[in-house]
Structures are given as structure tokens and as C-alpha cells.
């Protein structure tokens, strides 16, 4: 169950192009599973920024006197994230979490490939650890446009059986995209499951490659949200249910983790004509 707390910032450090905030989260951190996210309110009580921002949970730690704490990675994308990046130790921020449906973990020690785009690799750390704890083989692929936009490569190297890095400009690892190398990585690992987090086009391609190889994929999407708790209906995308019916489902409570083969990636930002409740053809004409 999600909690709402006033959290104290314990640390704010630069990691490449990103900031990592360590936050006190007693009663929240203890129940976090890989893939969960939190939301933070921006700019204090009288802020003109009325919407919270969502962040994937990167790490969870138990730090003695603080109880549970958690880390989130922040990319400065606008006013809110800029404000957050300027917070200092002992500043407070309103936190709600843990939110969302986490990754599903295999019961047996199977071979897993984890794919992260940009700071989409942030939630893969907890996931990699959990998979290793279950005796899974964990191969990781991370990519970004350039070296500075890679996140946490050194730590991932420690967590992975094998780490592959790609950059669009070739400044680190293989020149190209994660999806250019994914087939080879899956082949070499004998992948049974693929987990991915990153931009939508990357997730779409990861899902396509996985489905083609008949491998189960789980993708954590990054949709624009307003509430993060399931009441506003902002963050919807078309997903096929167990009954074969496509519905516009909420990323925040029905996701952010979805089966790659169930998301209608090419129709994100649309209402597919056969979606549940889609306008009748004659009405929309």
C-alpha cells in the first residue's frame, strides 16, 4: 500500500548527466519491489507546479537511524526536475510510494537479459540483484546517445554476468543502439526472459525482437502522468488483456511494467479503432 510521507534528502550527487537523490522513506522503502516507482511534489506547498513527477526507484538501503531510504535517478527535463536537482541535504520533499506494478520475477533460475536506455537503467539495479538472488543468469545491455548519458555502468558491471554497452556516437562500447545488439546478446545468453526500461521506441523494438524469438518480455514504460495513483486517466496506453480485448489502461496502476507482447506499441498516442469504448466509426467521422 502506497504511503505519503515528508522525506528528507540525505544526499544529492551528480552521476554523469544525471542526479541521484537519496531520500528517507521509512514505511515505503521496506515494501519496494523492483519496478516500483515514487512520485515527488515539486516546489513546496505554494508551488505553481501542481503536478507530481514520477521516478523509478533505483536503490533501496537500510541506513540505521533513518530507517529505510531509497535512491532515484533524475534527468533534468524541465522546471520540476531542475528544481529537484537543486535540492540539498536536509531539504524535504513530499513523497508518495511505492507505486505501480513491479516486474514479475521467475520462480526458477532462468537466463534473463536486462535492457536499459539512458537513465532507464536505474530500476534495473534492484531487478538484477533480485534475479541473481534467485539464481538467474543476468546479462545486461545499456545504451545512450553518448557516454555521459549512460547511467551506473560500473555498478552494472558488478551485477551482470555480461554487460554490453552501446552509444549512438560510439563514445563508449558498441556504436549503435541497444536494439542493434539485443539479438546477439539474447542468443549468447540463451535468454528466457527480457526486462526493459527506457524510451517507448526502444521498448517497442525490444518487445518486437523478444516476441520474434518467442521470449517473454516485460517493459517498464515511461508515460506522462498527472496523479500517479490511478485517478486522473492521463497516462493511458493501449494494452491487450487476457481476454484479447484492447483497453486504454493506466501506466501508473496497471503498469508501469507491461508484457511486451501485450502493448500495442505502434498505436501509442492513439485510440485503436477496436479498443474497448473507442468511438464508433460513424461517430468519429
Amino acid at each position: 500500500m502506497a504511503q505519503q510521507i515528508v522525506s528528507e534528502i540525505l544526499d544529492n550527487r551528480r552521476v554523469g548527466d544525471y542526479h541521484v537523490l537519496s531520500l528517507t522513506a521509512p514505511g515505503v522503502a521496506e515494501t519496494v519491489q523492483p519496478g516500483h516507482f515514487i512520485t515527488l511534489a515539486m516546489g513546496g506547498e505554494e508551488s505553481s507546479m501542481v503536478l507530481r513527477r514520477a521516478f523509478a526507484i533505483h536503490q533501496v538501503t537500510s541506513r540505521g537511524v533513518y530507517g529505510g531510504t531509497l535512491d532515484v535517478a533524475i534527468a533534468i527535463q524541465g522546471r520540476g526536475t531542475k528544481w529537484l536537482s537543486e535540492r540539498r541535504r536536509h531539504d524535504t520533499v513530499n513523497l508518495v510510494g511505492p507505486l505501480g506494478r513491479p516486474f514479475t520475477l521467475p520462480k526458477q533460475g532462468v537466463s534473463c537479459v536486462l535492457v536499459g536506455g539512458g537513465y532507464g537503467s536505474a530500476p534495473l539495479f534492484l531487478l538484477a540483484q533480485a534475479l541473481r538472488d534467485r539464481g538467474c543468469r543476468v546479462d545486461i545491455v545499456v545504451g545512450a546517445s553518448t557516454e555521459d548519458k549512460l547511467f551506473g555502468v560500473l555498478d552494472l558491471k558488478r551485477l551482470a554476468s555480461h554487460l554490453t554497452i552501446t552509444t549512438d556516437d560510439g563514445s563508449s562500447g558498441v556504436r549503435g543502439r541497444v536494439t542493434d545488439v539485443l539479438d546477439d546478446v539474447m542468443e549468447r545468453a540463451g535468454a528466457d526472459v527480457v526486462y526493459a526500461c527506457g524510451p517507448m521506441p526502444m521498448l517497442a523494438e525490444v518487445a518486437r525482437i523478444s516476441t520474434k524469438r518467442r521470449v517473454f518480455s516485460q517493459c517498464a514504460v515511461e508515460e506522462s502522468m498527472a496523479c500517479g495513483i490511478g485517478v486522473c486517466m492521463t497516462c493511458v496506453l493501449p494494452v491487450v488483456g487476457d481476454d484479447g480485448v484492447t483497453r486504454m489502461v493506466r501506466s501508473c496502476v496497471d503498469g508501469p511494467v507491461f508484457r511486451g507482447d501485450r502493448v500495442r506499441w505502434q498505436e501509442i498516442n492513439t485510440i485503436p479503432a477496436d479498443a474497448f469504448g473507442a468511438p464508433d466509426a460513424e461517430e468519429s467521422a
Partner: protein, 347 residues
């Protein structure tokens, strides 16, 4: 009710208020609080119940429900604006039958008071929605959303014309139990909101919900296209509060006996008080919930403090208080009263 009685009542439930009597009578519905959720900002109450006890609210006002399931509009559906947000959700929802079977059943089982918001594309749809609700029962009132700006045809915003607004309200009234209060939710995007209010009151509205969002637009200057897939959207949040307070004020002045649910950018107890002073009997908390899921409960507590700080013992006495005559005495907040003494004792 004497002060002693009020204190006695509140003592048994010390966390529900701060000494002020927060009960209101909204069109004959007794409510323990004037604070309601706002339609479209609380779904059907279930998610928020994880953050605070929704039975403490005056009522849960549910997201506007339509006759048939509806997928809503394409994304992006939201854009943050200065002290507000623009949305074009497009009334996504499961349809009335599923709503009655699942959401309304849950609200009843939970013991929450419920005001059901309904929306239709035709007058006939509103009639059928009202009929289905009459058959189902289990709610306190209907809020008729005739002012959602997120419909494909702007000409279909019933609340923009007195005649069409009245037709819808009349249809809902005819198909509802005569004891069920009907609140017509009006749009501020009209030349004269008092004229629209007049028409829906004459058509049988028990009260008015003021206001729905303002039609707005944001252009993304990086893509150089409209930020929302729906191009235009409804503006909400503190940015629209003065517009909403003005609408409540004008309608209250014209129809002092007609109960008003006020809404538009309420994020604190002070804001709620402002609407009540303007003439609202109850207030809906909407966009603030996205920022603070506990906002309705927090605002209830803050409002109780605001009432007490002004030397009033009952929140009801502040409804429309800003309309009092120029020579009415200014109330003096008690510096040391029985209220303070009682607080001291309990601490």
C-alpha cells in the same frame, strides 16, 4: 446548538475537526463536512480511500459516467500550466452498467455518501442515465455534467446555451426520483453564467456546481504543435480560482436560496473558506488531489481551523457571509475563549 454541545460532540471524535461544527445541509443531504471530491479527480473513490477515510468527506463526487464504455481521447492528455493543468481526458470510463455494478456497489459497501456525475452526448442519453440510476438507487444526488469541454463537437457543450442546458436538466429531472437533488455543473465559458443558471433552475435543478474547467490550449514550442492530442483542453487548478469564486458570487447573488457546490483550484482550507464566503454550501477538491492525495481530508481540517480562527463555531454560518450588508458588524476572533481553553485541556 450551543457551544457546549458542539464541544461535547467534537470531544468524542477529536480528530474530525478542531472545535468547529463542520456539518452542512446540502439540498437536504446532511453532511459531516462541506468538503467533496471533484468529478474526474477522484475516479470512484477507491484509490483515494487508501490515503484517507473517504467516509469523512461530505460526499464522493464520481467521475462523469456515460451510457456506454468510452476510451477517451488520444494521449498526450495533460499539460502542466502555471498553477494549473490542462487536460483532455475525454470522459474515459466503463459505462453506466459497469459503474453501477462495480463502483457504486463498492461506494455503498464502503459507506460513503455519493454524488454521481453523469455526462451524455444527447438529451436522450441523459434521460437514460437518470433512469438507470433511479432503478439502481444508493446515492445522494446527481451532478449533471453539461459542461465538459473535451468533446469532439464544441457545439455539444450543453452548458454554453441556456436552452440546451435546460433541456438536459429537465430530462434528468423527469427521469429521477423527485427526492433526489440534481446539481447542474456549469461552464464558466459563457457571457452570462447567471442566465444559464436561471434556465437550469427553472428546468428543475435543485442546485448548481460551479465551475467546470475553462477551455484552454498549450502549444509545445519544441515540437511547435499543440501539446495535447485533443488540441484544446480544460484548464483547472489554482489558476482558475478567481474565475470560479466570481461565478459562485454572481450566482449566489442572483439566487440566494439555491445551493451551490463550489470548485476551481481549491488547495487549502483558506481557499475552501473563500468559496463558502462567496456562497457555496459545499466545495469540491479536484486538481489538488493530483498534488496531494490526502488534500480533501487536509482541507477539511484546515477549514475547521479557519472557521474557529474567525470566531465562528459553525461552518454553515459562513456560507455566503461575504454578501452581508456593508454595515454588518465585523466579527472579532476570540483571543481567549472557551474554545481555546478546551483545546488547552485536551492537550
Amino acid at each position: 446548538m450551543s457551544r457546549a454541545l458542539i464541544l461535547g460532540g467534537s470531544r468524542s471524535n477529536p480528530d474530525s475537526n478542531a472545535g468547529a461544527d463542520m456539518q452542512v445541509d446540502l439540498a437536504g443531504i446532511p453532511m459531516p463536512s462541506p468538503i467533496l471530491t471533484a468529478s474526474g479527480c477522484a475516479a470512484a473513490g477507491r484509490e483515494l480511500d487508501g490515503f484517507f477515510d473517504i467516509t469523512r468527506l461530505g460526499a464522493v463526487v464520481t467521475k462523469s459516467i456515460m451510457l456506454k464504455p468510452r476510451a477517451g481521447r488520444a494521449t498526450p492528455r495533460m499539460s502542466e500550466t502555471p498553477s494549473g493543468m490542462l487536460n483532455s481526458i475525454g470522459l474515459q470510463g466503463p459505462g453506466i452498467d459497469s459503474f453501477i455494478e462495480n463502483d457504486l456497489a463498492w461506494l455503498n459497501q464502503r459507506g460513503a455518501r455519493t454524488i454521481i456525475s453523469i455526462a451524455g452526448e444527447t438529451v436522450d442519453e441523459y434521460s437514460r442515465l437518470a433512469s438507470k440510476l433511479r432503478a439502481a438507487g444508493g446515492f445522494e444526488a446527481i451532478e449533471v455534467n453539461i459542461s465538459c469541454p473535451n468533446v469532439a463537437d464544441r457545439g455539444q457543450v450543453f452548458a454554453c446555451r441556456a436552452e440546451s442546458a435546460a433541456q438536459v436538466v429537465q430530462a434528468v429531472r423527469r427521469n429521477s426520483d423527485s427526492r433526489v437533488p440534481i446539481f447542474a455543473k456549469l461552464s464558466p465559458d459563457v457571457t452570462d453564467i447567471v442566465e444559464i443558471a436561471d434556465s437550469v433552475i427553472k428546468a428543475g435543478a435543485t442546485g448548481l456546481s460551479l465551475i467546470n474547467t475553462l477551455l484552454g490550449m498549450v502549444i509545445d514550442t519544441s515540437t511547435m504543435r499543440p501539446a495535447l492530442a485533443g488540441v484544446t483542453g480544460g484548464l483547472s487548478g489554482p489558476a482558475i480560482r478567481p474565475v470560479a469564486v466570481r461565478c459562485v458570487w454572481q450566482v449566489r447573488q442572483a439566487f440566494p436560496q439555491v445551493p451551490i457546490i463550489g470548485m476551481g483550484g481549491i488547495r487549502s482550507g483558506r481557499d475552501a473558506l473563500e468559496f463558502m464566503l462567496a456562497g457555496a454550501t459545499a466545495v469540491s477538491v479536484g486538481t489538488a488531489v493530483f498534488n496531494d492525495p490526502k488534500a480533501p481530508a487536509r482541507i477539511h481540517d484546515e477549514l475547521a481551523q479557519e472557521v474557529k480562527a474567525r470566531g465562528f463555531s459553525k461552518v454553515e454560518d459562513l456560507i455566503g457571509y461575504a454578501h452581508r450588508s456593508e454595515d454588518a458588524p465585523i466579527p472579532v476572533a476570540p483571543e481567549s475563549s472557551a474554545l481555546d481553553e478546551w483545546d488547552f485541556i485536551t492537550e
